[in-house]
């Protein structure tokens, strides 16, 4: 089956070593490492993935992220993490991975049929 899957390894560099050979054509030796950038747009909100960039180290990644992703007051806090440390779930397992949630509608408040007269619940 593997031969049919032209699997892209972006976002899960741990896979790259395991799948040795499948991505052997790319030489990234001369490049600065790739970083993922997460931005908190204002106090009280989560950091959200904004994009990625290349930088020599974390400090430079944060400075560059400031220059490219917050030129218009988009953020008040930046996280950067080297892309190779991100592990992702496998889209080919998505069906079985998320299936258990499908048949548990009783986890939602709308599942319960209660009288209209009932207030404040």
């Amino acid at each position: 089956m593997n031969q049919f899957i032209n699997k892209n390894l972006y976002g899960d560099y741990g896979d790259k070593e395991q799948a040795a050979g499948s991505s052997g054509t790319h030489n990234t030796a001369g490049e600065w490492p790739l970083w993922e950038v997460f931005i908190r747009s204002k106090a009280g909100l989560d950091h959200k993935h904004a994009g990625s960039l290349h930088a020599a180290d974390a400090q430079m990644a944060i400075e560059n992220a400031r220059d490219v992703y917050t030129r218009r007051m988009e953020g008040i806090s930046i996280w950067v993490v080297e892309s190779k440390y991100i592990h992702a779930s496998d889209p080919f397992e998505a069906a079985s991975m998320y299936e258990p949630a499908n048949d548990k509608v009783y986890r939602h408040p709308t599942f319960y049929d209660l009288p209209d007269e009932l207030k404040h619940m």
């Binding site: 972006y10 490049e31 400090q59």
Partner: protein, 318 residues
């Protein structure tokens, strides 16, 4: 799953407007087409900094200089968003640079025209960015997630580019006779290349049908070109400039402007590398890349040294 079912699953997603994400299965040609289109787009942003960079030091006021600097900085950022999107498809940044520098990859032909006067800064913002926006807005809904997200960011930033360009043209058009002449001259030189930016007409664009099927493209070249002409002709009227096309005429029946024949020989000539500035642009890019090599190496060496120093300190502290 078999190849057949992967393909079916992919087709169903496309049909239902479900976005394709980097780790999803996709046909090889879809991946290749995207890499070509996105990297070409990224290269255009980067090379596009050159004609405008030419005028930063000669901007007529501090306000104009600050604006132009901000715009050129944006273009660099747009290049980065797009390169990053292409990288999610499995090509490296260095490979893309290499394709640009060896001439294997193309960039928008418009940037192979020279920027001769200050009015060209107005015409580029108004027409070139205007045409780019026309092209890019539908791409915010393109089927590949990282590309669409990059385009949302680009479009948000791009609209000031067009407005500042139009403002320059408007100011010149309301100025002295010489200034007005300068504005008209810029419009005369940039109009047709801007029209050509939408690419060959649909009949000569063999990839269009497949790209539309994949929802990589949402409108054809001719549809976008017509839309651009319709809105831009009205804008030119507003500031008293004349679009350099004697055949331009409102067609009541079609509800569109009819326009004169496009010089496709010129277009293909510039694509093939024989435009006024092809050589100059590519050389400027290569020079910047090669002369910057020591900076990249130094930054990496510095980062490693800093890391080593930090580790050393931690060991001592322990």
């Amino acid at each position: 799953m078999t190849v057949h079912s992967f393909q079916e699953h992919f087709d169903a997603k496309i049909d239902n407007e479900v976005m394709i994400e980097p780790r999803d299965w996709m046909p090889d040609d879809y991946r290749k087409t995207l890499i070509r289109q996105i990297s070409q787009h990224a290269h255009s942003e980067i090379v596009g900094m050159l004609p405008e960079g030419n005028w930063i030091t000669r901007a007529p006021s501090l306000r104009r200089k600050a604006v132009l600097l901000a715009k050129v900085q944006d273009e660099g950022g747009h290049g980065l968003y797009l390169y990053s999107a292409a990288e999610t498809l499995g090509i490296t940044r260095d490979e893309m640079y290499d394709q640009l520098h060896t001439g294997k990859a193309k960039y928008s032909s418009i940037f192979n025209y020279p920027s001769l006067t200050w009015a060209d800064m107005g015409a580029i913002g108004w027409l070139v960015d205007g045409a780019a926006i026309m092209n890019q807005v539908p791409l915010c809904r393109t089927s590949y997630g990282p590309y669409a997200r990059a385009m949302v960011r680009v479009c948000k930033e791009e609209s000031f580019h067009q407005r500042q360009g139009f403002e320059i043209m408007m100011t010149l058009a309301n100025g002295t006779d010489v200034q007005k002449k300068m504005a008209q001259d810029a419009l005369n030189r940039w109009w047709w290349p801007s029209i050509m930016m939408f690419g060959p007409s649909d009949a000569d664009s063999p990839h269009t049908a497949q790209s539309m099927r994949w929802r990589i493209k949402r409108f054809t070249n001719d549809e976008l070109r017509q839309k651009f002409i319709d809105v831009t002709v009205e804008q030119a009227k507003l500031i008293g400039l004349t679009v350099p096309d004697p055949d331009l005429k409102w067609n009541e029946e079609r509800g569109h402007y009819d326009f004169g024949p496009i010089n496709w020989d010129e277009f293909w000539n510039v694509v093939k590398g024989n435009g006024p500035c092809n050589k100059e642009r590519l050389e400027a890019r290569k020079k910047a890349w090669e002369n910057g090599a020591w900076v990249r190496d130094a930054a990496m060496a510095h980062a490693e040294k800093r890391k080593a120093r930090k580790e050393n300190k931690e060991v001592k502290a322990a």
